[in-house]
């Protein structure tokens, strides 16, 4: 095996590191946590302006496909807000893979320039893991589709330009088969956005669709082919677009505090820290494997499930012990005097629980591994 990045990829990584140093300021982190919007438009635009988003986007990229992993890994390790970029690039990749030429021309440039974000309407109030049972309907009316229903966890809907929306188009087909995916502008009449405040500071949304009218140009990946479109998106998400090294900035913040407060010489702290460093390294190797599989032309769906199960629990372990070790200082929030890791220790304890839920719960991922990797019978 070879674990070295090629000289071109190293150059690409160093360019991202330079941009991160310039654009990911404490003010940006602060803004994330006061606005609840985990996105930095100035960072996106700079990455777009330098052609990095185009280069990193799977299928579009002119560089080594491993660069997408490299980009998100650098952003995540730096503590940059990258959630918006991750969804946007995922959707650009899917439009590129499954969209019509017209859709590619209309949608992709707005994303890879860093100007437009995309929000995802999959889950509904009553359907999370069982997403194939969603009820939001799209009905053909002449040349148009009329969409009615509601979605939950439509993160970034308040700032996104595009919406990707999973609907039911055929009630007679089995539940996975009667679905159609749409991609439409968020300013289409009939869409309402209501904020949902979360434990982890991020503000997500509930969205409503009342007689939203779009044409066939909004169908992504074909009528009644929505399940495949969605699994294609998920295969891009699970594993390589961040979400697997969230513990790295936490360990850095904790370490600064622990050294300054004389806690870092404690053997228990050092042992736990060493163990978490091992966890983070394994998480990044599993992520790199997914990226490598993707770069060799494969779809790392199963490997992504494996990576996510491990990486999320590693982050949650790190969050638990760092907060416990910090004691009362681990309870103090951003900007409070004496807060461990400048408040990140407390913040990560609130943020880490969501990681084993979104993008596929740990239980769904374990089902996946049990059935597809171990060959055990379907358990439900």
């Amino acid at each position: 095996m070879d674990f070295s990045l090629s000289p071109e990829v190293v150059e690409f990584r160093d360019e991202i590191r330079r941009i991160v140093r310039e654009f990911v300021t404490p003010e940006i982190a602060d803004r994330m946590h006061t606005t609840g919007v985990f996105d930095a438009p100035e960072l996106n635009l700079e990455l777009g302006r330098r052609g990095i988003l185009e280069r990193a986007c799977p299928g579009l990229g002119k560089g080594d496909p491993i660069e997408m992993y490299v980009m998100f890994n650098e952003l995540e390790k730096a503590g940059a807000p990258y959630d918006g970029l991750a969804v946007a690039l995922m959707i650009a990749a899917v439009v590129n893979k499954l969209g019509t030429d017209e859709q590619k021309e209309r949608i992709i440039p707005s994303i890879i320039s860093g100007e437009a974000l995309v929000c995802m309407g999959y889950s509904e109030a009553d359907f999370g893991s069982d997403v194939a049972s969603i009820k939001t309907r799209a009905v053909k009316d002449g040349d148009e589709w009329v969409i009615n229903g509601s979605k939950m966890w439509t993160t970034l809907a308040q700032v996104a330009e595009w919406l990707i929306l999973l609907t039911r188009t055929d009630l007679d087909l089995p539940k996975h088969k009667g679905l159609t995916m749409f991609i439409l502008p968020m300013n289409t009449p009939g869409i309402t956005v209501e904020p949902v405040h979360t434990l982890g500071t991020e503000i997500t949304n509930a969205t409503w669709y009342d007689d939203v009218r779009v044409g066939d140009e909004a169908v992504l990946g074909g009528e009644n082919n929505g399940w495949r479109t969605m699994t294609t998106v998920l295969a891009f998400e699970r594993g390589v677009m961040g979400g697997t090294n969230a513990g790295v900035p936490l360990l850095r913040h904790f370490h600064e505090w622990a050294v300054a407060n004389g806690v870092f010489n404690e053997p228990t702290t050092r042992e736990r820290m060493a163990r978490s460093v091992i966890d983070m390294q394994v998480a990044t190797l599993l992520t790199m494997r997914s990226a490598w599989i993707a770069s060799s032309g494969g779809m790392p769906g199963l490997e992504g499930s494996m990576t996510k199960v491990f990486a999320v629990e590693a982050y949650q372990r790190a969050s638990r012990w760092t907060q416990a070790t910090a004691g009362p200082a681990g309870l103090l929030q951003f900007h409070e005097e004496g807060a461990a890791g400048e408040g990140f220790v407390e913040y990560d304890a609130r943020h880490s629980p969501v990681m084993s839920i979104y993008g596929g719960t740990t239980e769904i991922n374990r089902n996946n591994i049990a059935e597809r990797h171990l060959g055990l019978p379907k358990s439900r």
Binding site: M1, F3, L5, H255, E271, A274, L286, V309, R366, L374
Partner: protein, 341 residues
């Protein structure tokens, strides 16, 4: 130079060759029959015929010139089969030893993983019961001692051929300062880690196969989600451990002055990675054998089932160096700098 996380075609062949060899020559019954000593001379003789003892040695010394990545593949097959031969210890010891009989495997070498005590005794040397040559630290020096192996030792959890050996009695050669031994110990940690990945992999297979066949309530127990989820963690830990051992091998083979930038999760320092892989693979093997034994129900506890042999070796091989806390603290010193410093 570019990321490639697959085995090379050569390594695929090595894995196939050794897995096939151990499947044929060392099914679990062989390990069982070799207990409690944990050594089978006939099997070692077949390992010699395969050219395995010298495969990591330099060609000019009569060896096969295999990379550490290749040896990791071999060590994993040793773990998968729990073959009662000290191949891991021997391959590690030969990073500094070039004697012809060792390269050929006619004599067996072992690594004294902990320094000799004040009386010059290396305690509980892995493979010490059967090794003709032991390499280790005595005082401030790295020494090699050739003496007659006891061919017996204390009965132990992992049915390993352990024995106390003298660092002073026998034909003793001083190789250099104690620091010279680092390269031997790094290699021993790495190859032991790979063997533990193999144990975890075999335990996973045993468990998965068992729950597919064993029925309760009229269905295979492997159809219950509680069982499935316990098993689903195993391939994750195994793949993680395998990637980490291969990264450590790659770093030890190719990187000088590697990075220890843990704050950016950028680590290419071979010695740190070797210790990391041992700690991680030990946990993986312990977890895999715990769960697999548990999902065997009462039969897992029965001696006639093979899983208990893996269960004991997972602990034996991972604790023989030292307790994991001590190993973690030595890793912490390397990663973060020592407390004194």
């Amino acid at each position: 130079m570019s990321v490639d996380l697959g085995l090379s075609p050569d390594q695929e062949s090595i894995a196939e060759l050794f897995d096939g060899f151990f499947n044929n020559e060392a099914p679990p019954a062989v390990a069982r029959a070799a207990e409690p000593l944990g050594f089978d001379r006939d099997l070692w003789n077949k390992v010699i015929e395969l050219g395995a003892p010298g495969m990591g040695s330099a060609p000019e010394n009569g060896g096969g010139g295999a990379s550490l990545g290749d040896l990791v593949v071999v060590a994993e097959t040793v773990g998968r089969s729990i073959a009662p031969v000290p191949l891991v210890d021997h391959l590690a010891a030969l990073s500094l030893l070039t004697d012809g009989d060792l390269v050929a495997g006619e004599a067996i070498a072992a690594v004294a993983v902990r320094p000799a005590d004040a009386n010059g005794v290396w305690s509980l040397v892995p493979a010490g019961a059967v090794a003709d040559v032991v390499i280790g630290i005595d005082g401030h020096e790295t020494v090699v001692v050739r003496s007659t192996p006891p061919m017996s030792g204390p009965r132990n959890h992992g049915s390993m051929p352990l024995a106390d050996r003298s660092a002073r009695e026998g034909t003793r050669t001083v190789l250099g300062p104690a620091s010279l031994f680092d390269t031997v110990l790094d290699r021993w940690k790495l190859l032991t880690a790979a063997a533990l990945v193999g144990i975890a992999d075999a335990a996973k297979e045993l468990g998965v196969n068992y729950v597919k066949e064993r029925e309760q309530f009229g269905v295979p127990v492997g159809s219950f989600q509680a069982v499935q989820h316990g098993l689903a963690d195993l391939p994750v830990a195994i793949d993680g451990g395998r990637l980490l051992t291969h990264k450590a091998a790659w770093a030890l083979d190719n990187v000088t002055d590697g990075l220890i930038d843990w704050a950016n999760n950028d680590i290419t320092d071979g010695p740190a990675l070797a210790t990391m892989s041992l700690l991680f693979a030990a946990d993986a093997a312990v977890m895999a054998t715990d769960r697999s034994l548990h999902y065997h129900g009462g039969y897992g506890f029965a001696e006639e089932y093979d899983i208990q042999m893996y269960y004991r070796r997972a602990r034996g091989w991972s604790l023989i160096l030292d307790d994991p806390t001590t190993v973690s603290l030595s890793l912490a010193d390397r990663l973060f700098g020592s407390v004194e410093g």
